[in-house]
């Protein structure tokens, strides 16, 4: 008999698991960040720090995806804007911390019109627009009117920041990246536990119901887009800080897909899902010395396998497995995996 698919092309609802955040996830992340410098070599630590920096951008994508199903393909553009803004400000003698804060603020402001668009477009359309926005920003920064700021295709060295007279190099640099990453994950967890987080989760189910309960859905979408972009900008700055370099081709549309893939592979609904996803797709291939092309190939394959076989990501699958094997685990509850 012919198999048929009854699903009509509807964009109202999406097949994403409910957000499952717990303190255990945050503790695991903190433990990793603290233990890793004692285990890895200097080179490996630099790769891990860069991975941690990317995981903040992935966290932004996961927050948008898990809360209202937003496809934040704009994230590499925001990372580039954040990194280049901080770079320009530090070159002009601004203190590192102030440059970071202003760069994040500028990225969030740039994201406001995009946020306005999210409230008017369906998820598909916003994804397409984000894809195009990243392409546009990356090509404008690579060649053309912003070359003097970004250094063009070759990019620019990102000077190590200085906080309280301490240059952020080697272990001090790693400490700052690690602290910022853990802080970002903690703030995401807090956001989902707050009133705003609960409102976002209602919006994910149904905008009209959320509006009926007095939620200003349009405003909340704008705020969420700004927050997601803020994570992106911070991630871009941390990538510059960790790797010592920022070049526009690093932040092209391929990275949009890699960040989204990392969120989905790790498990967008779980707090440390973005961290796990980044380790799988960014850090391990870098440690294995794979070329960029091979890394992209592997990322695409893993994304496809994950979307088909593990739609809830690695952590979601692990949680399902624990629930299946262990009779003491309640069905549908948080698994405590973070």
């Amino acid at each position: 008999m012919q198999r048929t698919r009854s699903s009509a092309p509807s964009l109202r609802r999406i097949d994403l698991p409910l957000v499952q955040h717990s303190h255990a996830g945050l503790l695991i992340l903190l433990l990793c960040v603290v233990v890793v410098p004692f285990v890895l070599s200097d080179y490996q630590l630099t790769l891990f720090a860069t991975g941690l920096a990317y995981s903040v951008g992935v966290l932004g994508v996961a927050v948008g995806l898990a809360s209202v199903g937003m496809l934040a393909l704009t994230q590499p553009a925001m990372m580039l804007i954040g990194a280049d803004t901080a770079l320009v400000l530090t070159e002009r003698g601004w203190p590192f911390f102030a440059a970071v804060v202003v760069a994040i603020a500028i990225s969030m402001i740039i994201a406001l019109p995009l946020g306005w668009l999210t409230s008017r477009l369906d998820r598909f359309s916003f994804g397409v627009l984000g894809f195009a926005f990243t392409y546009l920003v990356s090509s404008l920064m690579s060649s053309g009117i912003f070359v003097s700021i970004s250094g063009g295709e070759l990019g620019k060295p990102f000077p190590a920041g200085v906080i309280a007279g301490i240059p952020l190099q080697q272990i001090a640099g790693y400490a700052v990246v690690g602290t910022a990453a853990v802080g970002s994950f903690a703030s995401a967890s807090l956001m989902f536990r707050s009133t705003m987080g609960r409102m976002l989760l209602v919006m994910r189910q149904d905008d009209i119901v959320a509006s009926a309960f007095g939620v200003n859905t349009e405003w909340l979408r704008i705020v969420l887009t700004a927050i997601v972009s803020g994570y992106g900008a911070l991630s871009g700055i941390l990538v510059g800080q960790a790797s010592g370099y920022v070049a526009p081709p690093q932040f092209d549309v391929s990275l949009s897909i890699v960040l989204l893939a990392a969120a989905l592979v790790g498990g967008a609904a779980h707090l440390i899902g973005p961290f796990i996803g980044t380790i799988i797709l960014q850090v391990l291939p870098a440690l294995a010395n794979l070329s960029q092309v091979d890394r992209n190939f592997a990322t695409g394959l893993i994304l496809l396998m994950c979307l088909i076989l593990l739609p809830n990501g690695v952590l979601g699958a692990a949680g399902d497995l624990i629930r299946t094997l262990g009779p003491n685990y309640p069905n549908g509850g948080a698994t405590g995996d973070g």
């Binding site: 092309p9 097949d15 627009l129 090509s139 979307l307």
Partner: protein, 287 residues
């Protein structure tokens, strides 16, 4: 100068229209937005190129093989990536992002080092003079091929049994399924057709510009814009939108002397198209 820019823009616009056609074909029937549409075309163009450059097959045979490969590639992607574990259209569209990155990485790995390549001349080099205007054979070929493809797709959907099924599914997927339309078979045909059209686009772009793994990035953006301005439903609306965008882009790169403005224009038209479409949908819902 102005008229020649216009002709160049029109030819480019026809390419955008063809990309829009591949996108619309899949969105209307399967609900899936194929982010990999343009890059699949690039991959097919590389297969044609490899057939002539590496295996020294005649150009005609290479183009025929490319068409067959494109058709088969569409079937393979649908059966192995889209069909297993049915999900909502958004999640299925995310799978096409995975296809995009795999296809581009494969092309970069195989052919990236020597890129960009010059595609073998599917039409002779040179131009003819039409009313004092120099129109290249490639530009004429693009316009003619686009008309033939659009006409063929229109005839297929209007006059054949499979076309009737395609229209039934795009009208109401669930009802069509209940009435016995073989949804999977029709989806498969839609994927094969869309990939075939993408392959044609890839060959045309490779001949118009150059052949390289990243040659389709700007084309995809403009194709999205054209498709959105056609409300993701109508190729009759998408084609003029693509032509308008092509003309604007050509004019901007010539007269503003800043090639990147053409991308800004494409982005602006995409945003406008999306907003117009969204407003239209809201109005339909309200009435």
């Amino acid at each position: 100068m102005l008229l020649e820019t216009l002709v160049g823009g029109i030819a480019l616009g026809f390419v955008y229209g063809l990309v829009a056609l591949t996108l619309i074909l899949l969105v209307r029937t399967t609900g899936v937005l194929n982010f990999a549409a343009a890059d699949l075309g690039m991959f097919c163009a590389f297969i044609g190129f490899a057939a002539t450059a590496t295996w020294h097959v005649s150009l005609l045979l290479a183009m025929a093989a490319t068409a067959v490969m494109a058709f088969a590639l569409g079937a393979l992607l649908y059966l192995t990536i889209i069909l297993p574990r049915t999900a909502d259209p958004l999640m299925l569209s995310l799978r096409t992002l995975g296809i995009l990155i795999v296809v581009r990485a494969l092309a970069q790995r195989e052919w990236g080092r020597g890129a960009p390549y010059e595609f073998p001349p599917i039409v002779p080099d040179g131009a003819i003079n039409v009313l004092g205007l120099n129109v290249s054979y490639v530009q004429i070929a693009i316009i003619v091929v686009t008309f033939i493809v659009a006409l063929a797709v229109a005839m297929l959907t209007q006059w054949t049994r499979i076309g009737l099924m395609l229209r039934a599914i795009s009208s109401d997927r669930e009802a069509a399924s209940e009435l016995g339309v073989p949804v999977i078979r029709v989806d498969l045909v839609a994927w094969c057709l869309a990939t075939l059209v993408a392959g044609i686009v890839g060959v045309l772009v490779a001949r118009l510009n150059y052949l390289s793994p990243d040659m389709m990035q700007p084309i995809l953006l403009a194709g999205f814009a054209a498709a959105q301005l056609g409300d993701m439903r109508s190729i009759r609306a998408a084609l003029p939108a693509g032509i308008a965008l092509g003309i604007l882009q050509s004019a901007s790169s010539v007269y503003l002397n800043q090639p990147e403005w053409s991308q800004v224009l494409a982005f602006a038209m995409l945003a406008i198209g999306l907003l117009m479409r969204s407003r239209l949908q809201r109005r339909v819902v309200a009435t």
